[in-house]
């Protein structure tokens, strides 16, 4: 295409249309101008990341079929074995097969952030919509509340809750859901404010529809795309936070195969020269979080910027 450009001087007079072969692909001018990206190209990285995530979800679902061993079958005779035919990714200090544990661990590691975000979204979207719809003191209250939560270190807040209610996966999920809700509320509020100003919402009010029904049936569904896009971005972060809590001993408790917990358990083996018990779950966390961020940013762009 660039050769064509160089070959024909821009000043050359346009050949009369009729004398040109009808299948002449493009005029020199058109060749010089870059084609617009009508459909944004899907970068290879997004495709790879998405493919990887599909794979992760599938293995999590099929973990019992794929895992060569039960995740909690202890074999002290095979403690800290390296990679080999018996144990593809080796074993940990208790001789548990690392591959089996990581595969099973994918379940908690994926379902827990999902539950967390669902809960946080329920709370955040409700509060954000309420604030935007009612305005006045309701808005002030919700906004101040979210501001306070913003200023307060999230992890500290979560640790505080766990200190009161005790460690465990359920408490961690609940505590983190509370910590994430304000972010979502703030985002929803700004979306709802601009959506509420549109005349179709006025039209529902003029029709005599009640505020609760307008919000639940028409306002929130119209925000759903943007909110979901935002949640995908948050997923990686949520997974990371949960893994952190498990690592610190606040989250999943043994004998769970949660990845964060596995990293913590594998830590001791590093001193003994065995890297795999910490590396395997650590890599799993890193890979999934990075993949979610790549897909999340892409999805947020596409879902958020419609209309």
């Amino acid at each position: 295409m660039s050769a064509l450009t160089a070959a024909q001087s821009p000043q050359s007079p346009q050949p009369p249309r009729s004398s040109r072969p009808p299948q002449a692909p493009q005029t020199p001018r058109a060749a010089r101008i870059r084609r617009p990206r009508l459909r944004p190209r899907q970068p290879l990285t997004v495709l790879i990341a998405a493919g990887f995530l599909v794979l992760v979800v599938l293995t999590a679902a099929l973990a019992p079929l794929l895992a060569p061993y039960a995740p909690d079958s202890i074999d002290l005779s095979a403690s800290l074995v390296g990679t080999g035919r018996e144990h593809l990714l080796g074993t940990d200090a208790s001789g548990q097969d690392l591959l089996s544990r990581v595969l099973h661990g994918a379940r908690t590691s994926l379902i827990a952030p999902l539950a967390l975000l669902a809960l946080a979204a329920l709370l955040g979207v409700t509060l954000g919509t309420l604030a935007a719809w009612r305005g006045g003191w309701v808005d002030t209250l919700v906004s101040r509340l979210t501001d306070v939560m913003y200023a307060f270190p999230g992890l500290l807040f979560v640790v505080l809750i766990i200190a009161v209610f005790g460690a465990g996966m359920t408490t961690s999920v609940l505590a983190l859901a509370l910590a994430y809700a304000p972010t979502i509320a703030k985002y929803t509020r700004s979306l709802a404010l601009s959506e509420r100003a549109k005349p179709y919402i006025d039209a529902y009010r003029v029709q005599g529809m009640g505020g609760a029904r307008i919000c639940a049936r028409h306002l929130v569904p119209n925000l759903a795309r943007s909110v979901v896009g935002y949640l995908v971005v948050l997923f990686g972060e949520a997974l990371m936070s949960l893994a952190t809590l498990s690592y610190l001993g606040f989250g999943a408790q043994p004998p769970s195969s949660d990845w964060g917990l596995m990293v913590q358990e594998g830590q001791a083996a590093v001193v003994q020269g065995a890297l795999l018990p910490a590396m395997v779950p650590g890599t799993a966390i890193a890979a999934v979080v990075v993949a979610f961020n790549i897909v999340g940013v892409w999805a947020a762009d596409r879902l958020g910027s419609r209309r």
């Binding site: 549109k198 179709y200 006025d202 039209a203 029709q207 005599g208 028409h218 209309r307």
Partner: protein
């Protein structure tokens, strides 16, 4: 057909008296958006509210449907005075909705982007108590009435043109069977050929259903086609009101004269128009 206009009341279907609305200004004091606005519209009649930007015409329109609360004054539909606050309770809300409906200016934002034409009408019909089968049938009749076909019935707003959207918005307002229909710059965003179609449709609907129209517009030439009476607003006040042909042919107020002089037409000279505008 259960519109309030058929309850035996034989006065004007819409009577507005001494309507007033002010807004606080940032530097203290208050901006008068509307003051002392009053008019009557008979059943099947139509009133044009004309004015330039900032004259308060949209404020009046939104007060009529209850989207803005008036500071004082009364709005009565078929003799029933509308409270200034939105009513509590579903039945009262729906009854109020059947008094006045509205068509908005922006056909791109006044329809729910998720709903198809048919769903949009069904939502309104079902809200007002129509049974499933009856609602379906009524939706089809309404679509037909505003000149939309089956393709448009199943299309979402983004697949409709501006004129089609505005037809759908009119059908949605009619679904509630209102006594009064307020149109706020409802044809301003449309191409002229489409604008004429929609004006024709409104005239037809007025004849067939007897709905009273309040037509808010900045365009004097458009207003004369569709209204019996005209009210000219300037800075929140009515500077002139009367039968449309009189107001346009023999304007009494200098502001109305200026507005008319500024409408371009054959042989029109902007310099002359400016002189009339400045002389007011």
């Amino acid at each position: 057909m259960a519109g309030t206009q058929e309850t035996g009341h034989d006065g004007p279907v819409l009577s507005v008296d001494a309507l007033r609305k002010t807004y606080p200004l940032p530097g203290g004091g208050r901006l008068t958006a509307a003051d002392g606005i009053g008019f009557r519209v008979p059943r099947g009649g139509s009133l044009g509210i004309v004015g330039e930007s900032g004259s308060g015409k949209t404020t009046v329109a939104r007060m009529l449907v209850g989207l803005i609360r008036a500071d004082s004054g009364t709005i009565a539909v078929a003799g029933h005075v509308r409270g200034s606050r939105p009513p509590r309770g579903r039945a009262a809300r729906l009854a109020r909705a059947r008094e006045v409906q509205m068509v908005f200016q922006d056909p791109y934002l006044s329809l729910d982007p998720r709903l198809t034409g048919r769903q949009c009408l069904l939502t309104a019909l079902r809200l007002h108590g129509a049974q499933a089968a009856a609602a379906d049938e009524r939706a089809l009749r309404l679509l037909d009435q505003v000149g939309l076909g089956s393709r448009e019935a199943e299309a979402r707003p983004h697949a409709l043109s501006g004129g089609q959207r505005q037809r759908l918005a009119i059908a949605r307002a009619l679904a509630v069977d209102p006594a009064v229909l307020v149109l706020d710059e409802a044809v301003a965003a449309l191409d002229v050929s489409i604008q004429a179609q929609v004006l024709g449709l409104l005239e037809e609907i007025r004849r067939e259903t007897g709905v009273a129209l309040v037509f808010v517009s900045h365009d004097l030439a458009v207003v004369q086609y569709i209204t019996d009476e005209t009210l000219v607003m300037r800075q929140g006040r009515a500077v002139e009101q009367g039968p449309t042909p009189h107001v346009l042919a023999d304007p009494q107020d200098p502001y109305t004269r200026a507005l008319l002089a500024a409408v371009p037409r054959e042989g029109w000279d902007p310099a002359e128009a400016v002189r009339t505008v400045r002389a007011r």
